[in-house]
C-alpha cells in the first residue's frame, strides 16, 4: 500500500546570467529560483490496484515517482510504502518495489540480457526456484526468451523495454512503478506490454502506478486515475467519472456535400459546436442537454449528411479539455 501525504518537492535552480559578464557574476554570487515541482499531493493506493498517473509534461509525475521509490527526498510531506518511508529506509523498500523509467534502461549495456537477470537475481536474493518460475512467466507474457543471449545494446527499443519490464518484475515486487513504459513503442509492443502488466496484476496482485501519455494504456489498464497539473492533484477517482465530468459529450462526424461548410451551415443551437476537418463536419455536444435524436435529424435534414459516425468523447479529449481550461485560467490570472 502506498500512502502519500501532503507531498512537496521544491527544486532550487541557480539563475545564470547571460553572456560572459553574467557568467562571471554567477561564479561569485548565486541567486536561486524555486520551482515547486510537486506541491502538496495526497493520495493512497491500496494493494493490487492499477492507477494511471497522468498529466502534462513537467506536471510533477516523475518527481513524485522518484520520491515514492526513494531516489529523491521530499522537501516536506511523507510517503509510506507498506508503512516504511523509502527515502529513509531505501534498501528495505527497494527489495519490495520494481521501477521502470521508460527513458533510461537499468540493464547492463554490454552484457547478454540473461547475465543482467542473473546479476539482479543475486542483488535481490531471488531463490533458484523463484527465479525459474519468474523467468517462465515473464518469458511468456513479455516474449523475451528469444533474445536472452544477446547483449542489451543490440536489442531494439521494443525488445529493450520488454527486457527492462521483466527486470523490474524479477523479484516479485509488491508495487511496480512504471514511468512511461510505452514511450516510443509500436502498437504491437504496446499491446504486449499492456497484457503483461495486466497478467502480472492478476497473477501476483501487484499494485501498479503507471504514468503515460498514451490514453489507450489508461483506458485498457486503469480503473482509477490521478490527474496532475503544476504539481497538484486535479482529479483523483474512477476513470468513468472523469469521462462524464463534462457531461455526456458525443461527437458526430459527417460526410457532407461540398457546398456545406462549417461557417455557412445552418445553426441548430449554441449547444452544438460545429467544426470542419478534412472536408468533413464535426458536431460536438452534450447529449444530456440536447437529445441525440434532434442532432441526428438536423444532420440529415439541414446538413444533408450522406454518412455519419457517432463517437463518445475519449479520455484523451477530457484530459485535453481540463488542461486547456487550467491553462486559460492561469493565463487570465497573469
Amino acid at each position: 500500500m502506498i500512502e502519500v501525504n501532503d507531498l512537496t518537492k521544491v527544486f532550487k535552480k541557480p539563475i545564470r546570467g547571460n553572456g560572459l559578464s553574467g557568467m562571471v557574476k554567477t561564479l561569485f554570487s548565486r541567486k536561486y529560483d524555486e520551482i515547486r515541482a510537486v506541491d502538496g499531493i495526497t493520495f493512497t493506493v491500496p494493494d493490487g490496484e492499477i492507477v494511471g498517473y497522468i498529466g502534462a509534461n513537467g506536471a510533477g509525475k516523475s518527481t513524485t515517482i522518484k520520491m515514492m521509490c526513494g531516489i529523491l527526498t521530499p522537501t516536506s510531506g511523507t510517503v509510506f510504502i507498506d508503512g516504511v518511508e523509502p527515502y529513509r529506509k531505501r534498501r528495505q523498500v527497494a527489495q519490495h518495489i520494481g521501477v521502470v523509467f521508460g527513458q533510461k534502461t537499468q540493464l547492463w549495456w554490454d552484457i547478454p540480457l540473461v547475465e543482467s537477470f542473473k546479476v539482479l537475481k543475486e542483488i535481490y536474493q531471488v531463490s533458484d526456484a523463484d527465479y525459474k518460475e519468474r523467468m517462465g512467466f515473464l518469458g511468456e507474457v513479455l516474449d523475451i526468451t528469444r533474445f536472452l543471449s544477446q547483449p542489451v545494446r543490440t536489442l531494439s527499443l521494443g525488445e529493450r523495454m520488454r527486457a527492462d519490464l521483466a527486470a523490474s518484475m524479477l523479484h516479485n515486487p509488491r508495487i511496480l512503478f512504471l514511468d512511461e513504459p510505452t514511450i516510443g513503442m509500436d502498437v504491437l509492443v504496446k499491446e504486449k506490454i499492456r497484457l503483461a502488466i495486466h497478467a502480472l496484476n492478476k497473477t501476483y496482485g501487484t499494485a501498479v502506478v503507471l504514468t503515460t501519455h498514451d490514453m489507450t494504456d489508461i483506458e485498457n489498464l486503469c480503473s482509477r486515475i490521478i490527474l496532475l497539473e503544476k504539481g497538484s492533484v486535479l482529479y483523483d477517482g474512477p476513470l468513468k467519472s472523469l469521462k462524464t465530468r463534462f457531461g455526456n459529450i458525443k461527437t458526430l462526424t459527417l460526410t457532407v456535400p461540398a457546398e456545406i461548410r462549417a461557417e455557412t451551415a445552418p445553426v441548430l443551437s449554441p449547444e452544438v459546436a460545429v467544426s470542419e476537418e478534412d472536408s468533413r463536419l464535426i458536431l460536438r455536444f452534450d447529449a444530456d442537454r440536447i437529445p441525440l435524436e434532434q442532432v441526428v435529424q438536423y444532420a440529415f435534414r439541414d446538413l444533408k449528411a450522406m454518412d455519419m459516425k457517432i463517437a463518445e468523447i475519449s479520455i484523451g479529449d477530457v484530459v485535453k479539455t481540463i488542461l486547456e481550461q487550467q491553462e486559460a485560467a492561469h493565463a487570465e490570472k497573469v
Binding site: 527544486f11 516523475s62 522518484k66 521509490c69 526513494g70 531516489i71 529523491l72 527526498t73 527515502y87 531505501r90 534498501r91 528495505q92 527497494a94 527489495q95 518495489i97 521501477v99 523509467f101 521508460g102 527513458q103 533510461k104 537499468q106 542473473k118 546479476v119 543475486e122 542483488i123 535481490y124 536474493q125 514511468d179 512511461e180
Partner: protein, 277 residues
C-alpha cells in the same frame, strides 16, 4: 548479505583486464618515468657531500632506487579503481537512480568492484612484477635490509597493508566522488585527489624528506599507508613493531573514513536531483 555484492566483485575482476592496450601504454610510460626518477636520484646523491656513499634521511642511493621501483609497481597494482569517475558519470547521466532503487549500498557496490579488480591485478601483475623486482634488486644488493626468515612475516604484513591501501584509496575516491553531488563535476575534484595522494603518500618523495613539522602530521594521516609504508614494510626498512603500527593506523583510518563517507552520502543523497523524464 555480502552475497549481494558478488556480481560486482566479479565484474571488477573481469573488467580490469578488458583494456590490454591501456596496460601496454601504461607500461611504456612508467618505464620512462622510473628511468627519470632513477637518474634524478643518482644526480642528487652524486652532488651531495659524501657522494655516492651518502645516506640521505636514512636512504642509500641503492635503497632509494629500490623504493622508486617498488612504489611504482605498488601503485600500479593497488590503484586501479575508477570509483570517482564512475560516480561522476552516474551523476551526470542520471544513472545513480538505477542503484538507488536497488536493495544494495552504493558504497558496497564500489568497494566490491574495487576488491575484485585488486584481486585480478595482484594475481596477474603483482605476483610476477614483485617477484622479478625483488629478485633483481636483491641480487644487485639494492635491498640490504632483507633477511630471512623474517621476510615472510613482512611479506604477510605487506599484503595486508596493500589491501588496506586499496581500500583507503577506494574510500577516498568514493568520498571525492560523493562530493560531485555538490559540484556536479568531477574534474577539479579528481585533480585535487590525485595531487593530494601522490604528494602525501610519499610516492613523489619519501615522507622522511619532508620538513619536521609536516612530517609528523603526514605520518599520522591516512596517506602514508597508501604507498610509502607498505613498500617500506616490504623492504624491511621498518621492523615488525613499526610495520604492525602502520597496518593498525591504516585500519583505524579505514573505519573513520568509511563512517565519514556514510554520513556524507546520506547528506548528499538528499540533494540528488535527477532531472528530466
Amino acid at each position: 548479505m555480502l552475497k549481494k555484492y558478488k556480481p560486482f566483485l566479479r565484474a571488477g575482476a573481469i573488467d580490469t583486464t578488458a583494456y590490454r592496450f591501456n596496460i601496454l601504454i601504461w607500461a611504456v610510460i612508467t618505464v620512462c618515468e622510473v628511468a627519470c626518477m632513477v637518474f634524478l636520484w643518482l644526480a642528487v646523491y652524486r652532488s651531495s657531500e659524501s657522494g655516492m656513499d651518502s645516506v640521505i634521511h636514512g636512504f642509500t642511493y641503492r635503497e632509494m632506487i629500490a623504493y622508486v621501483v617498488l612504489t611504482t609497481i605498488f601503485n600500479f597494482v593497488t590503484y586501479n579503481n575508477d570509483t570517482l569517475w564512475n560516480i561522476n558519470t552516474d551523476i551526470k547521466k542520471g544513472t545513480v537512480g538505477n542503484y538507488l532503487i536497488k536493495p544494495i549500498s552504493y558504497r558496497g557496490k564500489f568497494a566490491a568492484t574495487s576488491l575484485g579488480s585488486l584481486l585480478t591485478m595482484t594475481l596477474m601483475f603483482g605476483v610476477p612484477l614483485y617477484a622479478a623486482a625483488l629478485v633483481t634488486l636483491g641480487v644487485l644488493g639494492f635491498l640490504p635490509g632483507l633477511s630471512f626468515p623474517a621476510f615472510f612475516a613482512h611479506l604477510g604484513l605487506f599484503l595486508l597493508s596493500g589491501l588496506c591501501a586499496s581500500l583507503l584509496n577506494d574510500t577516498i575516491s568514493y568520498i571525492f566522488g560523493i562530493l560531485c553531488f555538490y559540484t556536479s563535476s568531477g574534474w577539479g575534484l579528481n585533480s585535487l585527489k590525485v595531487t593530494l595522494i601522490s604528494f602525501l603518500s610519499g610516492t613523489l618523495l619519501p615522507i622522511a624528506f619532508f620538513p619536521k613539522g609536516l612530517r609528523d602530521v603526514v605520518n599520522w594521516m591516512p596517506f602514508a599507508g597508501m604507498s610509502q609504508n607498505p613498500v617500506l614494510i616490504l623492504m624491511m626498512k621498518y621492523d615488525l613493531k613499526e610495520s604492525l603500527r602502520c597496518v593498525a593506523l591504516s585500519v583505524a583510518w579505514i573505519v573513520v573514513l568509511e563512517l565519514f563517507a556514510k554520513l556524507l552520502f546520506s547528506h548528499a543523497v538528499r540533494k540528488v536531483t535527477v532531472h528530466g523524464g
